[in-house]
Symmetry: C2
Subunit: 230 residues, 2 copies
């Protein structure tokens, strides 16, 4: 039974981290299937499931995706390295390690054995914040729960992954390469592979009391349990 294969959920959530150095070893079909099944279980507005995953395993197509990703990362990463100048000490060293890993991925995206390209169709979505004169995110509410489920499943399966969105800048080329029809768009490319280094593990996040407020925005949330369990 599938449940026997799976880890306790809080252990999975608390160790989901970006894994950007991936081995080229293939991912067994059964493992890949469980990752895709996890995505399929996700809720969506009106249960329309307005997303599809193009599961790229063909080496020539993966290489082409990697070639599209490389210049996008190079441009974005160059800017990110400039911003490092504002940081010092441990914060800077940590950020530099992260950028080194991103550089590695920038060069090796196409070597990952599987690339999950998430596509979505806005005509199947009720985008309630489309006309508010500010950036809209609600369409993402019917796609990124599936993305998150896939990433959590990767932790469970010992598969490294990371969510990238820079290929939106090359959407036309990706559409052509993957034969994505009109009306569908791309919103995430997730390389999958077994980790070169430690894989998933400890994460660094703000504590609950910095992220969550009581009744009105900015008001301190005092939960009896916060000090005990975080």
């Amino acid at each position: 039974m599938i449940r026997d294969l799976s880890m306790p959920i809080y252990e999975v959530m608390s160790t989901l981290r970006a894994v950007r150095r991936l081995k080229t070893d293939p991912i067994p079909d059964a493992v890949l299937n469980r990752i895709l099944q996890a995505a399929a279980w996700a809720p969506s507005g009106g249960n329309t499931q307005p997303w599809r995953i193009v599961t790229v395993r063909d080496s020539a197509i993966r290489r082409r995706v990697g070639e599209l990703y490389r210049p996008q990362w190079q441009a974005y990463g160059a800017q990110a390295r400039q911003n490092l100048a504002q940081l010092t000490g441990d914060a800077r060293a940590k950020q530099e390690r992260m950028l080194d890993a991103c550089d590695y991925l920038g060069e090796h995206m196409g070597d990952a054995p599987v690339l999950l390209v998430f596509c979505f169709n806005p005509d199947l979505m009720a985008i309630t914040d489309a006309d508010l004169g500010r950036p809209s995110v609600v369409g993402g509410g019917s796609v990124y729960p599936a993305v998150q489920n896939a990433m959590l499943a990767c932790v469970n399966e010992g598969v490294g992954c990371t969510l990238t969105t820079l290929l939106c800048f090359a959407e036309d080329a990706l559409r052509s390469l993957l034969e994505i029809p009109q009306g569908w768009y791309t919103c995430a490319v997730m390389p999958l592979g077994y980790p070169v280094l430690g894989g998933h593990g400890p994460i660094s996040r703000r504590p609950v009391e910095k992220l969550c407020y009581a009744d009105t925005f900015g008001s301190r949330l005092d939960l009896d349990a916060i000090s005990a369990s975080t």
Copy 2:
């Protein structure tokens, strides 16, 4: 240890369903804290965690949120009932049961013991699909993973929940009520409460092979394991 409290992840994912009839009983602080902690663990672009949750427990504020939600659901639900005319048989009966539950929530949103109002700040996001001349969703990639984690935690805790986004249509009123500062916006309101009926359980989703393609969009994905495990 927190991991001892948590269920196997695939069991959680495969039983996360919208629970719209909620008891008014309070949710213990320790339970609420674990749900919020799950949200806090979620990844976000550049780890900026560009979201906050206003955790509404004050009864007067909950009632006001419910009063804002009611007309939004009434308008949306009326349209959804008109669309029912296209359906027949089991599909129609199923949709009617769902709309009945939505009607219940429309009347009782403010009675749920906790309302999680998710807010986001686009200035903290790199929205790579902002200028593509099509609906943008990428900002949601830094918020809805946290929303999904919170919902999965609700399953683990036996707490009913559902993701609603209709209150974006009343964002100005919600901003005023919850004292949300300029620069922050709302993207989800999630009522939490113990289930009146069965709570989380079986879900209805498309099979993996209808959602996932091989190498190019629309191409059949043949994984050895698909027939065995789905």
